[in-house]
Symmetry: C2
Subunit: 260 residues, 2 copies
Protein backbone atom coordinates (compact mmCIF):
# COMPACT_ATOMS: atom_id res chain seq x y z
CA UNK A 1 0.00 0.00 0.00
CA UNK A 2 2.77 2.41 0.96
CA UNK A 3 4.64 1.44 -2.16
CA UNK A 4 1.56 2.02 -4.28
CA UNK A 5 1.05 5.43 -2.72
CA UNK A 6 4.62 6.42 -3.49
CA UNK A 7 4.13 5.55 -7.12
CA UNK A 8 1.06 7.77 -7.41
CA UNK A 9 1.55 10.60 -9.92
CA UNK A 10 1.54 14.10 -8.52
CA UNK A 11 -0.64 16.31 -10.69
CA UNK A 12 -0.18 20.07 -10.29
CA UNK A 13 -3.13 22.12 -11.50
CA UNK A 14 -3.26 25.85 -12.14
CA UNK A 15 -5.14 28.29 -14.36
CA UNK A 16 -5.52 31.97 -15.18
CA UNK A 17 -9.19 32.47 -14.37
CA UNK A 18 -8.59 32.14 -10.64
CA UNK A 19 -9.04 29.39 -8.12
CA UNK A 20 -12.83 29.70 -7.95
CA UNK A 21 -13.48 29.41 -11.71
CA UNK A 22 -15.66 26.49 -12.84
CA UNK A 23 -12.96 25.53 -15.37
CA UNK A 24 -10.36 24.60 -12.78
CA UNK A 25 -12.89 22.69 -10.71
CA UNK A 26 -13.91 20.68 -13.76
CA UNK A 27 -10.25 19.99 -14.58
CA UNK A 28 -9.47 18.81 -11.05
CA UNK A 29 -12.56 16.62 -10.90
CA UNK A 30 -11.84 15.08 -14.30
CA UNK A 31 -8.40 13.80 -13.21
CA UNK A 32 -8.56 13.46 -9.43
CA UNK A 33 -8.45 9.67 -9.49
CA UNK A 34 -5.39 9.61 -11.79
CA UNK A 35 -2.98 10.81 -9.11
CA UNK A 36 -2.59 13.14 -6.17
CA UNK A 37 -3.99 16.46 -7.33
CA UNK A 38 -2.64 19.72 -5.85
CA UNK A 39 -4.06 23.04 -7.02
CA UNK A 40 -1.98 26.25 -6.86
CA UNK A 41 -3.78 29.02 -8.72
CA UNK A 42 -4.22 32.80 -8.77
CA UNK A 43 -6.64 34.38 -6.28
CA UNK A 44 -8.17 36.50 -9.05
CA UNK A 45 -8.59 36.43 -12.84
CA UNK A 46 -5.25 36.75 -14.67
CA UNK A 47 -6.35 36.39 -18.28
CA UNK A 48 -3.98 37.89 -20.84
CA UNK A 49 -1.07 37.90 -18.41
CA UNK A 50 1.12 35.97 -20.84
CA UNK A 51 4.41 34.88 -19.33
CA UNK A 52 4.44 37.69 -16.75
CA UNK A 53 6.23 37.11 -13.46
CA UNK A 54 6.10 39.24 -10.33
CA UNK A 55 9.44 40.85 -9.56
CA UNK A 56 8.58 44.34 -8.31
CA UNK A 57 6.76 43.22 -5.18
CA UNK A 58 6.45 40.08 -3.05
CA UNK A 59 3.83 37.34 -3.31
CA UNK A 60 1.32 35.97 -0.83
CA UNK A 61 0.00 32.42 -0.77
CA UNK A 62 -2.58 30.70 1.43
CA UNK A 63 -4.34 27.37 1.58
CA UNK A 64 -8.07 27.57 0.84
CA UNK A 65 -10.97 25.13 0.81
CA UNK A 66 -12.87 25.42 -2.43
CA UNK A 67 -12.84 21.87 -3.81
CA UNK A 68 -13.88 18.84 -1.75
CA UNK A 69 -10.88 16.67 -0.95
CA UNK A 70 -8.39 18.58 -3.11
CA UNK A 71 -5.43 20.42 -1.59
CA UNK A 72 -5.75 23.97 -2.91
CA UNK A 73 -3.60 27.08 -2.58
CA UNK A 74 -4.30 30.56 -3.89
CA UNK A 75 -1.58 33.11 -4.61
CA UNK A 76 -1.48 36.79 -5.40
CA UNK A 77 0.76 36.04 -8.38
CA UNK A 78 0.43 35.35 -12.08
CA UNK A 79 -0.13 31.84 -13.50
CA UNK A 80 3.65 31.54 -14.09
CA UNK A 81 4.33 32.61 -10.49
CA UNK A 82 1.92 29.87 -9.35
CA UNK A 83 3.95 27.15 -11.08
CA UNK A 84 7.19 28.47 -9.56
CA UNK A 85 5.67 28.75 -6.07
CA UNK A 86 4.07 25.31 -6.32
CA UNK A 87 7.37 23.58 -7.08
CA UNK A 88 9.48 25.54 -4.60
CA UNK A 89 7.11 26.14 -1.67
CA UNK A 90 4.15 23.74 -1.87
CA UNK A 91 5.28 20.46 -3.40
CA UNK A 92 9.01 20.87 -2.66
CA UNK A 93 9.58 18.72 -5.75
CA UNK A 94 8.58 18.64 -9.40
CA UNK A 95 5.13 17.19 -10.06
CA UNK A 96 4.84 14.39 -12.61
CA UNK A 97 2.62 16.55 -14.77
CA UNK A 98 1.24 20.08 -14.73
CA UNK A 99 -2.24 20.82 -16.05
CA UNK A 100 -3.56 24.32 -16.66
CA UNK A 101 -7.12 25.43 -17.23
CA UNK A 102 -9.72 24.61 -18.22
CA UNK A 103 -9.66 28.12 -19.62
CA UNK A 104 -12.95 29.91 -20.19
CA UNK A 105 -12.25 30.91 -23.79
CA UNK A 106 -10.07 29.95 -26.76
CA UNK A 107 -6.27 29.79 -26.68
CA UNK A 108 -5.66 28.61 -30.23
CA UNK A 109 -3.44 30.28 -32.85
CA UNK A 110 -1.51 33.37 -31.64
CA UNK A 111 -3.51 33.44 -28.40
CA UNK A 112 -1.02 30.93 -26.99
CA UNK A 113 1.39 33.85 -26.53
CA UNK A 114 -1.01 36.10 -24.56
CA UNK A 115 -2.58 33.33 -22.54
CA UNK A 116 -1.84 32.98 -18.84
CA UNK A 117 -3.20 29.42 -19.04
CA UNK A 118 -0.69 28.40 -21.68
CA UNK A 119 2.18 30.41 -20.16
CA UNK A 120 1.78 28.42 -16.94
CA UNK A 121 2.02 25.21 -18.99
CA UNK A 122 5.05 26.53 -20.88
CA UNK A 123 6.70 27.51 -17.59
CA UNK A 124 6.27 23.94 -16.35
CA UNK A 125 7.83 22.54 -19.53
CA UNK A 126 10.81 24.90 -19.12
CA UNK A 127 11.17 23.36 -15.64
CA UNK A 128 11.21 19.88 -17.24
CA UNK A 129 7.67 19.11 -16.09
CA UNK A 130 5.46 17.70 -18.88
CA UNK A 131 2.43 19.93 -19.14
CA UNK A 132 -0.91 20.41 -20.84
CA UNK A 133 -3.04 23.53 -21.09
CA UNK A 134 -6.76 23.12 -21.75
CA UNK A 135 -9.16 25.73 -23.09
CA UNK A 136 -12.83 25.57 -23.97
CA UNK A 137 -14.13 27.83 -26.73
CA UNK A 138 -16.79 29.25 -24.44
CA UNK A 139 -16.21 32.35 -22.31
CA UNK A 140 -19.31 31.78 -20.20
CA UNK A 141 -18.93 30.92 -16.52
CA UNK A 142 -21.94 28.63 -17.07
CA UNK A 143 -20.20 26.75 -19.90
CA UNK A 144 -20.90 23.04 -20.37
CA UNK A 145 -17.68 21.13 -19.57
CA UNK A 146 -18.96 17.64 -20.46
CA UNK A 147 -16.93 17.31 -23.65
CA UNK A 148 -13.92 19.01 -22.08
CA UNK A 149 -13.85 16.58 -19.16
CA UNK A 150 -14.02 13.59 -21.49
CA UNK A 151 -11.06 14.77 -23.60
CA UNK A 152 -9.07 16.12 -20.63
CA UNK A 153 -9.20 12.67 -19.12
CA UNK A 154 -8.36 10.89 -22.35
CA UNK A 155 -5.36 13.13 -23.11
CA UNK A 156 -3.95 13.13 -19.56
CA UNK A 157 -4.21 9.33 -19.45
CA UNK A 158 -2.42 9.05 -22.79
CA UNK A 159 0.45 11.25 -21.59
CA UNK A 160 0.74 9.54 -18.19
CA UNK A 161 0.79 6.17 -19.97
CA UNK A 162 3.62 7.12 -22.34
CA UNK A 163 6.68 4.95 -21.79
CA UNK A 164 9.07 7.82 -22.31
CA UNK A 165 7.66 11.29 -22.00
CA UNK A 166 9.65 14.23 -23.39
CA UNK A 167 10.32 16.19 -20.19
CA UNK A 168 9.68 19.41 -22.08
CA UNK A 169 6.40 18.13 -23.55
CA UNK A 170 3.85 20.92 -23.61
CA UNK A 171 0.48 20.60 -25.29
CA UNK A 172 -1.99 23.34 -26.12
CA UNK A 173 -5.40 21.68 -26.16
CA UNK A 174 -8.51 23.55 -27.30
CA UNK A 175 -12.00 22.09 -27.17
CA UNK A 176 -14.81 23.27 -29.47
CA UNK A 177 -18.00 24.66 -27.98
CA UNK A 178 -20.27 21.81 -29.00
CA UNK A 179 -22.28 19.01 -27.41
CA UNK A 180 -19.97 16.09 -26.61
CA UNK A 181 -21.69 13.82 -29.15
CA UNK A 182 -20.75 16.20 -31.97
CA UNK A 183 -17.02 16.25 -31.13
CA UNK A 184 -15.16 14.26 -33.79
CA UNK A 185 -12.02 13.36 -31.83
CA UNK A 186 -8.48 14.68 -31.42
CA UNK A 187 -6.31 16.28 -34.10
CA UNK A 188 -2.60 17.06 -33.67
CA UNK A 189 -2.08 20.47 -35.31
CA UNK A 190 0.24 23.38 -35.83
CA UNK A 191 -0.47 26.87 -34.51
CA UNK A 192 -2.44 28.87 -37.08
CA UNK A 193 -1.38 32.35 -38.13
CA UNK A 194 -4.61 33.89 -36.97
CA UNK A 195 -4.89 36.87 -34.65
CA UNK A 196 -6.88 39.82 -33.46
CA UNK A 197 -6.82 43.02 -35.49
CA UNK A 198 -6.80 45.68 -32.81
CA UNK A 199 -9.19 48.54 -32.69
CA UNK A 200 -9.10 50.38 -29.37
CA UNK A 201 -12.43 51.65 -28.17
CA UNK A 202 -11.80 55.30 -27.27
CA UNK A 203 -14.01 56.77 -24.54
CA UNK A 204 -14.05 59.76 -22.23
CA UNK A 205 -14.29 59.63 -18.44
CA UNK A 206 -16.66 61.93 -16.48
CA UNK A 207 -13.94 64.64 -16.45
CA UNK A 208 -13.53 64.50 -20.23
CA UNK A 209 -10.19 62.66 -20.30
CA UNK A 210 -9.64 59.93 -22.87
CA UNK A 211 -9.23 56.25 -22.05
CA UNK A 212 -8.98 53.14 -24.22
CA UNK A 213 -10.43 49.64 -24.09
CA UNK A 214 -8.54 46.98 -26.00
CA UNK A 215 -10.86 45.33 -28.48
CA UNK A 216 -10.56 43.81 -31.92
CA UNK A 217 -11.76 41.38 -34.50
CA UNK A 218 -10.37 37.87 -34.86
CA UNK A 219 -9.00 37.12 -38.33
CA UNK A 220 -7.56 33.93 -39.75
CA UNK A 221 -4.81 34.56 -42.30
CA UNK A 222 -3.91 30.88 -42.50
CA UNK A 223 -5.58 28.69 -45.12
CA UNK A 224 -3.92 25.46 -43.92
CA UNK A 225 -6.02 22.45 -43.00
CA UNK A 226 -3.39 21.31 -40.51
CA UNK A 227 -3.95 24.20 -38.09
CA UNK A 228 -5.71 24.39 -34.73
CA UNK A 229 -8.19 26.94 -36.09
CA UNK A 230 -9.20 24.58 -38.91
CA UNK A 231 -9.52 21.61 -36.54
CA UNK A 232 -11.70 23.53 -34.09
CA UNK A 233 -13.93 24.88 -36.84
CA UNK A 234 -14.48 21.28 -37.91
CA UNK A 235 -15.36 20.15 -34.38
CA UNK A 236 -12.07 18.43 -33.59
CA UNK A 237 -10.25 18.86 -30.29
CA UNK A 238 -6.97 20.54 -31.33
CA UNK A 239 -3.64 19.52 -29.79
CA UNK A 240 -0.65 21.74 -30.63
CA UNK A 241 2.72 20.69 -29.20
CA UNK A 242 4.42 23.86 -27.94
CA UNK A 243 8.10 24.74 -27.54
CA UNK A 244 9.94 27.45 -25.64
CA UNK A 245 12.94 27.72 -27.96
CA UNK A 246 11.91 30.85 -29.87
CA UNK A 247 14.94 30.77 -32.20
CA UNK A 248 13.88 31.26 -35.80
CA UNK A 249 16.36 28.82 -37.37
CA UNK A 250 15.35 29.64 -40.95
CA UNK A 251 16.03 33.33 -40.40
CA UNK A 252 19.20 32.48 -38.45
CA UNK A 253 20.63 30.73 -41.50
CA UNK A 254 19.71 33.62 -43.77
CA UNK A 255 21.23 36.19 -41.43
CA UNK A 256 24.43 34.21 -41.02
CA UNK A 257 24.85 34.28 -44.80
CA UNK A 258 23.53 37.71 -45.75
CA UNK A 259 23.17 39.99 -42.81
CA UNK A 260 26.56 40.08 -41.19
Amino acid sequence: MTKQKKQQSIILITNDDGVTAPGIRNLAEAVKDLGKVVVVAPDKPQSGMGHAITIGFPLRMQQVHVMEGIETWQTTGTPVDCVKLAVDKVLHRKPDICLSGINHGANHSINVIYSGTMSAAIEASIESIPSIGFSLLDYSMEADFTGSRKYVREIVQKVLAMKKVDKHLCLNVNIPKAPVELLKGIKVCRQAYAKYEEDFDERRDPTGKKYYWLTGEFKNFDKGRDTDVWALKNNYVSVVPVQFDLTNYVLKKQLEQKFL
Copy 2:
Protein backbone atom coordinates in the same frame (compact mmCIF):
# COMPACT_ATOMS: atom_id res chain seq x y z
CA MET B 1 11.83 67.95 -49.87
CA THR B 2 8.26 66.87 -49.27
CA LYS B 3 8.90 63.70 -51.22
CA GLN B 4 12.05 63.00 -49.24
CA LYS B 5 10.16 63.48 -46.00
CA LYS B 6 7.51 61.04 -47.09
CA GLN B 7 10.14 58.40 -47.75
CA GLN B 8 11.59 58.77 -44.27
CA SER B 9 11.34 55.58 -42.21
CA ILE B 10 9.05 55.70 -39.20
CA ILE B 11 10.80 54.17 -36.21
CA LEU B 12 8.59 53.20 -33.27
CA ILE B 13 10.46 52.87 -29.98
CA THR B 14 9.24 51.27 -26.77
CA ASN B 15 10.70 49.50 -23.73
CA ASP B 16 9.78 47.88 -20.43
CA ASP B 17 11.77 50.06 -18.03
CA GLY B 18 9.51 53.04 -18.57
CA VAL B 19 9.70 56.18 -20.62
CA THR B 20 12.22 57.92 -18.33
CA ALA B 21 14.82 55.10 -18.30
CA PRO B 22 18.30 55.98 -19.63
CA GLY B 23 18.14 52.94 -21.92
CA ILE B 24 15.26 54.25 -24.04
CA ARG B 25 16.85 57.69 -24.28
CA ASN B 26 20.09 56.15 -25.50
CA LEU B 27 18.18 54.03 -28.03
CA ALA B 28 16.26 57.03 -29.39
CA GLU B 29 19.39 59.17 -29.61
CA ALA B 30 21.36 56.44 -31.36
CA VAL B 31 18.85 56.20 -34.25
CA LYS B 32 17.10 59.57 -34.37
CA ASP B 33 18.74 60.59 -37.65
CA LEU B 34 17.79 57.31 -39.37
CA GLY B 35 14.09 58.17 -39.60
CA LYS B 36 11.20 59.79 -37.78
CA VAL B 37 11.35 58.45 -34.23
CA VAL B 38 8.16 58.13 -32.17
CA VAL B 39 8.34 56.79 -28.62
CA VAL B 40 5.33 55.05 -27.02
CA ALA B 41 6.39 53.47 -23.75
CA PRO B 42 5.06 52.50 -20.31
CA ASP B 43 4.79 55.22 -17.64
CA LYS B 44 6.42 52.91 -15.08
CA PRO B 45 8.76 49.91 -14.98
CA GLN B 46 7.19 46.80 -16.52
CA SER B 47 10.06 44.33 -16.31
CA GLY B 48 9.06 40.68 -16.34
CA MET B 49 5.65 41.45 -17.85
CA GLY B 50 6.24 39.00 -20.69
CA HIS B 51 3.52 39.12 -23.33
CA ALA B 52 0.90 40.47 -20.93
CA ILE B 53 -1.90 42.64 -22.31
CA THR B 54 -4.41 44.71 -20.39
CA ILE B 55 -7.95 43.40 -20.79
CA GLY B 56 -9.53 43.82 -17.36
CA PHE B 57 -9.38 47.60 -17.28
CA PRO B 58 -8.90 50.46 -19.74
CA LEU B 59 -5.66 52.22 -20.67
CA ARG B 60 -4.56 55.83 -20.45
CA MET B 61 -2.07 57.51 -22.75
CA GLN B 62 -0.62 61.02 -22.79
CA GLN B 63 2.05 62.92 -24.67
CA VAL B 64 5.04 63.89 -22.53
CA HIS B 65 8.23 65.87 -23.03
CA VAL B 66 11.20 63.88 -21.84
CA MET B 67 13.49 63.76 -24.88
CA GLU B 68 14.47 66.85 -26.85
CA GLY B 69 12.85 66.83 -30.28
CA ILE B 70 11.36 63.34 -30.02
CA GLU B 71 7.60 62.77 -30.01
CA THR B 72 6.96 60.75 -26.87
CA TRP B 73 3.85 59.16 -25.37
CA GLN B 74 3.51 57.34 -22.09
CA THR B 75 0.82 54.78 -21.39
CA THR B 76 -0.48 52.96 -18.34
CA GLY B 77 -0.17 49.67 -20.22
CA THR B 78 2.34 46.88 -20.70
CA PRO B 79 5.04 46.98 -23.39
CA VAL B 80 2.77 44.89 -25.67
CA ASP B 81 -0.12 47.31 -25.06
CA CYS B 82 2.23 50.15 -26.08
CA VAL B 83 2.88 48.60 -29.49
CA LYS B 84 -0.83 48.06 -30.08
CA LEU B 85 -1.72 51.60 -28.97
CA ALA B 86 1.09 53.11 -31.04
CA VAL B 87 -0.13 51.51 -34.27
CA ASP B 88 -3.84 52.10 -33.70
CA LYS B 89 -3.94 55.46 -31.87
CA VAL B 90 -0.64 57.32 -32.34
CA LEU B 91 0.81 56.49 -35.76
CA HIS B 92 -2.47 55.35 -37.37
CA ARG B 93 -0.26 53.11 -39.54
CA LYS B 94 2.42 50.50 -39.14
CA PRO B 95 5.91 51.90 -38.54
CA ASP B 96 8.73 50.69 -40.80
CA ILE B 97 10.50 49.20 -37.83
CA CYS B 98 9.93 48.80 -34.09
CA LEU B 99 12.82 49.00 -31.63
CA SER B 100 12.53 48.03 -27.98
CA GLY B 101 14.92 48.80 -25.15
CA ILE B 102 17.69 49.35 -24.48
CA ASN B 103 16.83 47.11 -21.55
CA HIS B 104 18.71 47.55 -18.31
CA GLY B 105 19.68 43.88 -17.91
CA ALA B 106 20.10 40.69 -19.92
CA ASN B 107 17.39 39.12 -22.08
CA HIS B 108 19.35 36.20 -23.47
CA SER B 109 18.41 32.50 -23.28
CA ILE B 110 15.02 31.76 -21.68
CA ASN B 111 14.70 35.37 -20.49
CA VAL B 112 13.28 36.21 -23.91
CA ILE B 113 10.00 34.67 -22.72
CA TYR B 114 9.68 36.73 -19.50
CA SER B 115 10.97 39.96 -20.99
CA GLY B 116 8.63 42.88 -21.60
CA THR B 117 11.28 44.36 -23.90
CA MET B 118 11.32 41.30 -26.14
CA SER B 119 7.57 40.74 -25.94
CA ALA B 120 7.04 44.23 -27.37
CA ALA B 121 9.36 43.33 -30.25
CA ILE B 122 7.58 40.00 -30.77
CA GLU B 123 4.22 41.78 -30.76
CA ALA B 124 5.45 44.07 -33.54
CA SER B 125 6.63 41.10 -35.60
CA ILE B 126 3.21 39.44 -35.19
CA GLU B 127 1.79 42.67 -36.63
CA SER B 128 4.14 42.33 -39.63
CA ILE B 129 6.45 45.10 -38.37
CA PRO B 130 10.15 44.13 -38.44
CA SER B 131 11.49 44.58 -34.93
CA ILE B 132 14.59 44.49 -32.78
CA GLY B 133 14.87 44.29 -29.00
CA PHE B 134 18.09 45.50 -27.38
CA SER B 135 19.38 44.64 -23.91
CA LEU B 136 22.57 45.57 -22.11
CA LEU B 137 23.97 43.14 -19.54
CA ASP B 138 24.05 45.84 -16.89
CA TYR B 139 21.14 46.46 -14.52
CA SER B 140 22.49 49.79 -13.31
CA MET B 141 20.64 52.99 -14.19
CA GLU B 142 24.12 54.54 -14.55
CA ALA B 143 25.21 51.93 -17.11
CA ASP B 144 27.60 52.95 -19.90
CA PHE B 145 25.70 52.77 -23.21
CA THR B 146 28.63 53.61 -25.50
CA GLY B 147 29.03 50.09 -26.92
CA SER B 148 25.26 49.59 -27.04
CA ARG B 149 24.73 52.75 -29.08
CA LYS B 150 27.40 51.74 -31.59
CA TYR B 151 25.87 48.31 -32.19
CA VAL B 152 22.27 49.53 -32.06
CA ARG B 153 23.09 51.90 -34.90
CA GLU B 154 24.98 49.31 -36.90
CA ILE B 155 22.23 46.68 -36.61
CA VAL B 156 19.33 49.06 -37.29
CA GLN B 157 21.13 50.41 -40.36
CA LYS B 158 21.74 46.87 -41.63
CA VAL B 159 18.05 45.96 -41.25
CA LEU B 160 16.79 49.21 -42.81
CA ALA B 161 19.21 48.70 -45.72
CA MET B 162 17.99 45.15 -46.47
CA LYS B 163 16.46 44.89 -49.92
CA LYS B 164 13.74 42.55 -48.77
CA VAL B 165 13.04 42.41 -45.06
CA ASP B 166 11.05 39.48 -43.68
CA LYS B 167 8.00 41.34 -42.33
CA HIS B 168 8.04 39.04 -39.29
CA LEU B 169 11.75 39.62 -38.66
CA CYS B 170 12.39 39.89 -34.93
CA LEU B 171 15.87 40.04 -33.44
CA ASN B 172 16.87 39.63 -29.82
CA VAL B 173 20.10 41.59 -29.41
CA ASN B 174 22.13 41.44 -26.18
CA ILE B 175 25.21 43.52 -25.55
CA PRO B 176 27.94 42.47 -23.10
CA LYS B 177 28.84 44.73 -20.21
CA ALA B 178 32.28 45.71 -21.42
CA PRO B 179 34.11 48.78 -22.71
CA VAL B 180 33.32 49.31 -26.39
CA GLU B 181 36.92 48.58 -27.44
CA LEU B 182 36.69 45.07 -25.98
CA LEU B 183 33.52 44.12 -27.90
CA LYS B 184 34.46 41.63 -30.63
CA GLY B 185 31.56 42.17 -33.03
CA ILE B 186 28.21 40.57 -33.79
CA LYS B 187 27.35 36.86 -33.64
CA VAL B 188 24.10 35.36 -34.94
CA CYS B 189 23.09 32.74 -32.36
CA ARG B 190 20.41 30.40 -31.16
CA GLN B 191 18.67 30.80 -27.78
CA ALA B 192 20.58 28.89 -25.09
CA TYR B 193 18.82 26.51 -22.74
CA ALA B 194 19.84 28.48 -19.68
CA LYS B 195 17.48 29.68 -16.98
CA TYR B 196 16.99 30.70 -13.39
CA GLU B 197 16.62 28.02 -10.75
CA GLU B 198 14.00 29.50 -8.47
CA ASP B 199 14.41 29.81 -4.77
CA PHE B 200 11.75 32.04 -3.21
CA ASP B 201 12.95 34.17 -0.33
CA GLU B 202 10.39 33.56 2.44
CA ARG B 203 9.89 36.41 4.90
CA ARG B 204 7.36 37.48 7.50
CA ASP B 205 5.59 40.82 7.58
CA PRO B 206 5.20 42.82 10.83
CA THR B 207 2.03 40.87 11.67
CA GLY B 208 3.82 37.53 11.26
CA LYS B 209 2.24 36.56 7.92
CA LYS B 210 4.45 34.96 5.27
CA TYR B 211 5.35 36.56 1.96
CA TYR B 212 7.70 35.54 -0.84
CA TRP B 213 10.23 37.32 -3.03
CA LEU B 214 11.06 35.66 -6.32
CA THR B 215 14.79 35.08 -6.53
CA GLY B 216 17.07 32.47 -8.04
CA GLU B 217 20.39 31.50 -9.49
CA PHE B 218 21.13 31.62 -13.21
CA LYS B 219 22.30 28.31 -14.64
CA ASN B 220 23.44 27.42 -18.13
CA PHE B 221 22.53 23.84 -19.11
CA ASP B 222 23.63 24.35 -22.71
CA LYS B 223 27.19 23.53 -23.73
CA GLY B 224 26.77 24.78 -27.32
CA ARG B 225 29.15 27.37 -28.73
CA ASP B 226 26.42 28.64 -31.04
CA THR B 227 24.26 30.11 -28.26
CA ASP B 228 23.67 33.66 -27.10
CA VAL B 229 25.05 32.85 -23.64
CA TRP B 230 28.33 31.61 -25.16
CA ALA B 231 28.63 34.64 -27.45
CA LEU B 232 28.04 37.11 -24.63
CA LYS B 233 30.51 35.36 -22.34
CA ASN B 234 33.07 35.77 -25.12
CA ASN B 235 32.32 39.48 -25.55
CA TYR B 236 30.30 39.21 -28.75
CA VAL B 237 27.04 41.07 -29.29
CA SER B 238 24.49 38.24 -29.64
CA VAL B 239 21.71 38.37 -32.24
CA VAL B 240 19.01 35.69 -31.97
CA PRO B 241 16.27 35.72 -34.63
CA VAL B 242 12.98 35.09 -32.82
CA GLN B 243 9.73 33.55 -34.03
CA PHE B 244 6.17 33.54 -32.67
CA ASP B 245 5.13 30.18 -34.07
CA LEU B 246 5.50 28.09 -30.92
CA THR B 247 4.59 24.81 -32.63
CA ASN B 248 7.07 22.08 -31.71
CA TYR B 249 7.17 20.39 -35.13
CA VAL B 250 9.44 17.54 -33.97
CA LEU B 251 7.02 16.61 -31.20
CA LYS B 252 4.08 17.13 -33.56
CA LYS B 253 5.42 14.42 -35.87
CA GLN B 254 6.01 12.05 -32.97
CA LEU B 255 2.55 12.59 -31.56
CA GLU B 256 0.89 12.11 -34.92
CA GLN B 257 2.55 8.71 -35.16
CA LYS B 258 2.48 7.48 -31.58
CA PHE B 259 0.18 9.48 -29.40
CA LEU B 260 -3.16 9.34 -31.13
